[in-house]
Amino acid sequence: MDFAVNILALGVPFSVALLIASLGEMFNQRAGVFNLGCEGIMAMGAFLGFLAPFLVGRGGPTAEIWNYAGILMAMAAGALMGIFFGLAVVTFRAPQGIAGIGLQMFGVGVAGTFFRHFVGGTQSIPGIPAMPIPLLSKIPVLGPILFSHNPLVYVAFLLPPAAWYVLFKTPWGLRVRASGANPRAADSIGVKVNLVRFQALAVGGALAGLAGAYLSLCQAKMFSDEIIAGRGFIAVALVYFGHWRPLKITGGALLFSLAQALQLAIQGRGINFPYEFAVMLPYVLVIVVLAFSRENLLLGPTALGRPFNREIRT
């Protein structure tokens, strides 16, 4: 019982960065843009999230504020990078796959470079401490699992329903989905497809930046240029796992992270098989679960990856 509670209590915060980043990527893809550069935006977000509290906020009474300033900077930079990416793939219609890899290299490279220049070696910050919710965190099983985390964790778990609402209930969500599924139709009824795509990229970028900032400010409370370590790519993969649906994506992120917590706990219990096989567990599990879930693929963004221009017929 304790074992299970521990795993759940660990898996929840582990999932946050993936969750936020994949929701961001979901908005990109729903609008029709495939952003493989998520990893790069996360790296920038992690760096900028770290920078403000590191440079100015250290120890002083204003430390807390600088943490949040870092988050805002990370999100702003993420949005900017999204827009920058949009310039290449929306305006100039560059193939999104390569451009995404370009963005990833750019983000990781710039974050690493600036980190080296402005900070030096691996450094830590106090970061944002956990904030158990007063009464709720005392509830036996649910308390540690749901209510004893970092403030950003709570925010992150408000995101999926919010994303669902935005996507399916608001005019903007309607425009995003239409732009990703049939841009020509959307255009013909007055949706500014490319503008919507830019907006979605900005939103997605901001979320990826936030995910990065979560890693550096809340989870690791450090930065080094390897901080993202492929999580951006996993976030992209989780969007496919969740078939572009916020709640299913959340399920995917949780599944992955719980499996992660589980395998670490299993390793710790002393296993008599090579630990590498334990490390593989989350990756295998995600594939297997997806393989056995049936889903109508027609419901996704059918124009994903295709640039749009009114006059150019393809």
Binding site: P171, A178, A181, N182, R184, A185, I189, L298, R310
Partner: protein, 515 residues
């Protein structure tokens, strides 16, 4: 903006419109005008520039030259929003619907009155749809996903959408190409009634509709106005001649019914649709070699599923499909092809051709392994070239050469590519689904001739069409499909469009309703 407040459009004029695409001059100094309550028909061969011109009017394309005047003053439309605001609305030739959204959502997308920053008031949209549906007698299911709808239903949704948005000036780009005769008649009646409130530009390849509906007609040829005049003063034949520069006579099947062996026999066939219900529900049908059987019916009654099941593209739940005695139900598409089946699919752009492939590559889509085109798996390029040149010549496919991407051809030419491939393979049988949908009269004439020729050579043909004239012209027998079953089969001589129309609505001659 409430559409009631929009100023009346008492006149609309396009002046000197020129639009260039790389390599084509789509519109060349076109001028036309439409008055209040007037219905203008815009006709011309495929690729004449009709759609382009209308897209310019809707703000989708910017003209290179020329200007648009509404009520005498110049307007500049930068996007469809500007055109909507001016009271224009358009039903596009290629349906502009988002397949994975519901009808309701598709309409909500443009119905800005139902928007607040944080919410789309879908109930308001639903009410609006109901209002329009009642007023014009156009019923649609707001909660259906568009991908679940037949093309005819989609066309209706398009119309409802445009009307919901409150157009005062309606542009209809080939709105009837996928409608049944009844639906077409209803639409035309509807449009006639609407003329008290609206001005209309109506594009169609069906000249009797033009004749029936419009006040004036403008004929485009290669991007410029070839003729402009009052409709009542010219017969359809004259208009066709003005359009193509020659006389068009659609051929008729007058040969005696030939006595071939039974080629295709379908018994108790049951097939599910994408939505999961039995779209073909116990269908029986038999067709002989050297016979054309027309399958008439309102689209969405199982035609697509039937054709796909015959060709191995959809699994069969129950029943058998005997093809020259062999049951081909649930065979793979490749195996059905090998049995000697030819198939002209409904979706010409995505199913009938591989769009990025060149025309010549598309010609060998079904024969890439045939020794004629490949020896030991190596493609015989010379042979492929020769074949392509021959077919292009024979079927009069208009393109610079056979290396152009098939997807860049016009719809008519794409249809010819498919037809050329299917007929030149000399199959024993052909399933032809809506083979002339959206084609101009010249192209339709050509295709009809080809089908009749093949019939004379002994090929059996299942001709799926909603166009009664086509069915009546070409078929030896006509089967009417309704809700997945054949409710009656008529001989050519005993059939006429009135009888067929009644049957297509699901009513048997005896008066009782078929289930």
């Amino acid at each position: 903006m409430p559409q009631e407040i929009v100023n009346r459009i008492s006149s609309l004029r396009m002046e000197g419109i020129t639009k260039r695409f790389p390599g084509t001059l789509a519109c060349d100094d076109i001028s036309l005008s439409v008055g209040e309550g007037e219905i203008l028909a815009l006709v011309g061969e495929n690729g004449a520039g009709k759609t382009t011109l209308m897209n310019i009017l809707m703000g989708l394309y910017r003209p290179d030259e020329g200007r648009i005047l509404i009520n005498g003053s110049e307007v500049v439309f930068r996007s469809p929003n500007d055109a909507f605001a001016a009271g224009l609305g358009m039903v596009h030739q290629q349906y502009m619907l988002v397949a994975n959204m519901t009808v309701l959502e598709n309409i909500a997308l443009g119905y800005k009155r139902a928007w607040s920053p944080l919410r789309v008031d879908l109930e308001m949209v639903r009410a609006r749809i109901g209002e329009v549906a009642d007023r014009y007698g156009l019923s649609v299911d707001p909660d259906a996903f568009v991908w679940q709808l037949s093309i005819g239903e989609q066309q209706r949704v398009e119309l409802v959408k445009t009307l919901c948005l409150g157009a005062r000036f309606l542009i209809l780009d080939e709105p009837t190409s996928a409608l049944t005769p009844q639906e077409t008649d209803e639409l035309i009646d509807l449009l006639k009634r609407m003329r008290s409130e609206l001005s209309i530009i109506f594009i169609s390849h069906k000249l009797h509709e033009v004749k029936n509906l419009s006040d004036r007609v403008v004929i485009l040829r290669r991007g410029s106005v070839a003729f402009e005049g009052s409709t009542s003063e010219h017969s359809p034949g004259e208009i066709a001649a003005l359009m193509t520069g020659r006389e068009v006579v659609l051929p008729k099947n007058e040969a005696p019914c030939c006595e071939g062996c039974e080629a295709l026999a379908i018994r108790g066939l049951k097939v599910r649709s994408d939505r999961g219900f039995l779209a073909v529900d116990g269908l029986d049908l038999s067709i002989c070699s050297g016979e054309i059987v027309g399958l008439a019916g309102v689209s969405g009654n199982g035609q697509r599923e039937l054709a796909e099941a015959i060709n191995g593209l959809r699994s069969v739940e129950e029943g058998e499909i005997l093809f020259f005695g062999r049951d081909i139900a649930n065979l793979k598409p490749g195996e059905v092809i090998a049995e000697g089946m030819g198939y002209i699919p409904e979706e010409r752009n995505t199913e009938g051709i591989v769009p990025p492939f060149s025309m010549k590559e598309n010609f060998i889509l079904k024969d890439s392994g045939d020794p004629h085109y490949a020896s030991r798996s190596f493609l015989r390029l010379k042979e492929i070239d020769r074949n392509a040149d021959r077919l292009r010549e024979e079927f009069d496919i208009r393109s610079p050469d056979t290396r152009v991407a098939a997807g860049s051809l016009s719809g008519g030419n794409i249809q010819k590519v498919i037809l050329a491939r299917e007929l030149s393979r000399a199959p024993r049988f052909l399933v032809a689904v809506y083979p002339t949908r959206g084609l101009d009269m010249g192209a339709a004439e050509f295709i009809h001739k080809r089908l009749l020729e093949k019939r004379a050579e002994g090929m059996g043909i299942l001709l799926v069409s909603e166009e009664l004239e086509e069915v009546l012209d070409l078929s030896d027998r006509i089967a009417v499909i309704f809700k997945g079953r054949i409710i009656d089969t008529l001989d050519r001589d005993s059939a006429d469009s009135r009888k067929l129309g009644v049957l297509m609505a699901g009513v048997k001659e005896s008066g009782d309703e078929a289930v």
